[in-house]
Symmetry: C2
Subunit: 227 residues, 2 copies
Amino acid sequence: MRSKSIRSIRRAELSRAAFEAVVQFGLRRTTLDKVGAIAGVSKGVVLHHFKEKSALLEAVFRRSNTLLSESVIELYRYAETPYERLWAIIIANFFETIFNRRVCQAWVSLISEVPHNEGCQRVQIANNERIRSNLMHELRHFLPESEAQKVARHLGVQIDGIWVRAGLLPTPVEPDVAVSEIEFAISKMLPFDEISAVKHKNARKKIEQIAQIALGSKAFKDKAMQE
Amino acid sequence: MRSKSIRSIRRAELSRAAFEAVVQFGLRRTTLDKVGAIAGVSKGVVLHHFKEKSALLEAVFRRSNTLLSESVIELYRYAETPYERLWAIIIANFFETIFNRRVCQAWVSLISEVPHNEGCQRVQIANNERIRSNLMHELRHFLPESEAQKVARHLGVQIDGIWVRAGLLPTPVEPDVAVSEIEFAISKMLPFDEISAVKHKNARKKIEQIAQIALGSKAFKDKAMQE
DNA sequence: ACTAAAAACTAACCAATAGTAAGTTTTATG
DNA sequence: CATAAAACTTACTATTGGTTAGTTTTTAGT
């Protein structure tokens, strides 16, 4: 009883290796030989499982987006109020295991593939749409529909912007700083009296603690590694 | 009396050709042969003027950033108040000749070079710093120092974010939409009573009209082409 | 104007790269 | 156990970035 076919295992191994190669060398200097070397197989095996480099890169792109969305889902399990779910989205997007210089640089490298790769484009669109709808679902509790739409789009763009900067600049961006920047936007765009300020603060604190356990745990990392 | 050396003319021609190649094919499919073909010279000439591909890409990157900053400078000439200068920065970053799908896609392609190319990194840092200081200069008129810093950074990141999205998504982002999104952020982050709302509105309108003339004119485009 | 040096350009080459094709081994299945 | 399918290997090709050595053109000093 094998739960996964050899093919899907190999594809997972190879896209992980390719991701590692992009992290180490950047997209332009990532070759199929290097990917093979990292995975411990020959270039031929890489091309047997991915018919061309573009297909491999699409898998890498999909993989890194999946890791992110799974972090959100994982934190959702513990979030009980709109405040907490809103913060779950934000914290998941900037948790240290995912939001760090290496990964952000790789992401910046990878998105250059998007404009000329339909598969990547679909992934990217789905990804944007998912985060937008996640945000909308919570923001509706705080704002009228039309306003919520604007804020959802604004926060989505802001998250992308912070990721790009973190990938472009040589100085690392601390997760804390990134989250605080989003917090600043929220404090300006959502109703923010003394009561809600406290609720936001508590929600952020709670989700941050949960994230340490839920996302930082070896179990979650292993799960993320598998696929 | 030749104002420019052959070298600088060729380098300009070649980096324009390289930019065109990146627009057409994406960074990964941009080869020195194609760049040469677009410029009407052999690959050898390209490598004679740029010692390697990285150097050429750095020039392309620098060139596209220069175009942007010159647009800001051009609009500054007509901006007379902090409101107008603030809007000059915003409008310049989203003017149709610069902010369009082709250019945004090329930009997204090019930034993948940044993490592993020191020269590009310097350009990028200088660019971020310039726009931040431009924004700060005006925001100080509306906000206390510490608040102005946060807003300046936020708007800078938002501009990057909008550019990335415009490059990633297949549906074009209208300049008007982009500017309105920034306007939304401004309306939430700057003091915004009836009086200032009108002042912003007038400033935006005035600068938009000037941009049509100053940035849309053949003279400006030719000037931009030269270097 | 003449010449020497510097710059612009060309062409032949090389190693690395993405991708193909044809074959061999391993695994799954009736 | 036989057969087909999937996994893997190897050898090959065309394209690519980059080098080198040489030729032509431009520049500058006398």
